[in-house]
């Protein structure tokens, strides 16, 4: 069993409760052992960084220091929330890139009796750990109820695939990790062109007009590709696209109904668990209709992604670039 230090983040306890509930349910099934960091504090999201430098990074680094001390044999911190993940990774990276920052932060931490050596922890996102450490083969082996016929638009948001200091993802713009995971669950994955485009972040609270436009772009594109629902890994994205969908519709006079749920919830369904236990029903834009499709025999539908010209019909297309993709992962080894 792989043990990891879990940094849940504030939203996992409230707005993204479904994420937390489903994660706790599927973790033992796939052999993911998580230990919560003792007395962790808020990472500051994107707000604290806008006020100050040293306090913001010290706030983040208290968690790193606590995690490093708590080390239960593991030096990997797993963060399911994108902003938390980015903040932790960024703090560690910048303290290495700019030693002056590291010194300043450690001096502040010392006032609380803590210290942190930059580089002593590996900070990884939940999806990264599931796909590369647990491995897609393991996931596939636990699927008892494949999501056949369910058209899913994978939505990663922006803060996970970018800026990716430690090169963990296959691409900044069109990464394949979530696609492959959903495929392993048996779902029909659409080639969603906006899969790493921004949901607007905190603009829903600060500048709603800007945010609604960004949300509209995502939903209208997923709708264009006839997705049944969007699968995401970020609490903020889920909140924006789900909770603010009504207001967005009202703002533009549209009537979209695009459910958006967490990928861990879909994993739970595919593993044969009860929807209720996985946080279904917490979403404001109901996923009931979409989920009714699961388990129902549907005929094979053709790919409606942009058709590539076949040989003999027009000019040949270049072959895809060989890129880092998840393969059979050996337990405990990190695939870079």
């Amino acid at each position: 069993m792989d043990k990891y230090l879990l940094y849940p983040g504030c939203s996992m306890e409230s707005s993204a409760k479904a994420y937390y509930d489903s994660l706790i349910k599927i973790a033992p099934v796939i052999g993911l052992e998580l230990e919560e960091i003792e007395d962790w504090n808020c990472c500051g999201a994107t707000e604290y960084l806008g006020i100050s430098l040293a306090p913001a990074y010290s706030l983040i680094s208290r968690n790193l220091a606590l995690a490093a001390n708590q080390s239960n044999g593991s030096r990997t911190v797993v963060a399911p929330c994108s902003a938390c993940y980015l903040n932790l990774a960024k703090a560690d990276y910048y303290m290495r890139e700019q030693p002056k920052l590291g010194t300043m932060v450690n001096e502040a931490l010392a006032a609380g009796g803590l210290s942190y050596k930059p580089g002593s922890l590996d900070i990884r996102h939940l999806l990264d750990v599931i796909v590369y450490d647990i491995g897609l083969d393991t996931i596939k082996s636990k699927v008892t109820r494949p999501l056949t016929g369910l058209r899913v638009a994978p939505y990663l948001g922006c803060m996970v695939p970018r800026p990716d200091y430690e090169h963990r993802w296959s691409d900044h713009e069109h990464p394949v990790e979530l696609d492959l995971l959903l495929k392993a669950l048996g779902a029909e994955v659409i080639d969603f062109p906006l899969k790493t485009h921004c949901c607007g972040g905190h603009m829903t609270q600060i500048g709603p007009d800007t945010a609604f436009e960004l949300i509209r772009r995502l939903i209208s594109s997923a709708d264009h590709y006839e997705a049944d629902l969007m699968a995401t890994l970020c609490p903020m994205c889920q909140l924006n696209v789900d909770a603010y969908q009504g207001e967005m519709n009202h703002h533009f006079g549209t009537s979209y109904h695009m459910p958006i749920i967490f990928f861990t919830q879909l994993m739970g369904i595919a593993f044969g668990m009860r929807a209720r236990d996985l946080g279904f029903g917490m979403e404001l834009v109901s996923a009931k209709k979409a989920m009714k499709k699961v388990g129902v025999e549907v005929p094979e539908t053709a790919e409606t992604a942009a058709a590539k010209p076949r040989k003999g019909n027009g000019l040949p297309m270049p072959t895809p670039l060989p890129r880092k993709t998840p393969k059979v992962a050996e337990k405990g080894k990190v695939k870079k």
């Binding site: 409230s14 504090n41 808020c42 707000e47 430098l53 900044h172 607007g200």
Partner: protein
């Protein structure tokens, strides 16, 4: 309802003096008399105050950032223009711009920039500088950030209900009725709590942040 929980609920509504302002807009300080010499220290200052090595001086003004930015249409200046203004020492114009307040931190610009400039982090720096200099067109974003920070400094965790009520009451009171269904949904589905959670070792966090603030002042000199 016990008196204990009543007190807990009242606590979250306690407001400090400076947040009792009703008017959402801020009157900026009077413009300085134009100087002959440009403020060429501005670029250096921004660079120094940014986390990591900003590489701001390497910008070739190619426009990739402005081209990638999802909310660029809503900005006064594209990110690229803002950097040009920083180089030109246009302190007041740059800090009064709404560009960095609209930045959504999507990092498209950062990964595409051909000179690896830490664009998103420069935006954070400018936010802090604008608040410090009290130069912004609309106080909505600065207030939101400050409210959030206030919550974290009191509880060590975020508190969405408190954040939302304070923020919307102050800045978007007219939106509140339209948001009732959403708020109701969030509350009934247990996605939002009316009471905050506090971390155990709040004293430790407070000490850390206090020292950090002292160091910050020294750093900026």
């Amino acid at each position: 309802m016990s008196s204990h929980s009543c007190r807990a609920r009242l606590e979250c509504f306690r407001m400090r003096e400076d947040y009792m302002e009703i008017a959402p807009t801020v009157i900026p300080p009077p413009a300085p008399i134009p100087k002959l010499i440009e403020d060429l220290t501005l670029l250096d200052e921004v660079s120094r105050r940014t986390a990591g090595v900003s590489r701001l001086e390497m910008c070739i003004q190619c426009g990739t950032c402005g081209g990638s930015c999802p909310p660029a249409a809503d900005m006064d200046h594209t990110p690229r223009m803002l950097f040009a203004m920083l180089r030109a020492g246009m302190r007041r114009d740059a800090l009064m711009s709404n560009t960095f307040w609209i930045c959504v931190s999507c990092y498209h610009c950062v990964v595409r920039c051909p000179q690896n400039v830490h664009i998103a982090d420069v935006m954070y720096t400018l936010k802090g500088m604008a608040i410090e200099a009290n130069l912004y067109q609309s106080s909505t974003a600065p207030d939101f950030s400050q409210t959030f920070v206030d919550m974290v400094e009191n509880y060590g965790r975020g508190f969405e209900f408190g954040l939302a009520t304070r923020h919307y009451l102050k800045h978007f009171p007219l939106r509140l009725p339209g948001m009732v269904p959403m708020a109701f949904g969030m509350l009934t589905k247990e996605r939002m709590s009316i009471t905050p959670t506090r971390i155990k070792n709040m004293a430790q966090l407070t000490a850390i942040l206090k020292r950090a603030k002292e160091l910050e002042v020294g750093h900026h000199g």
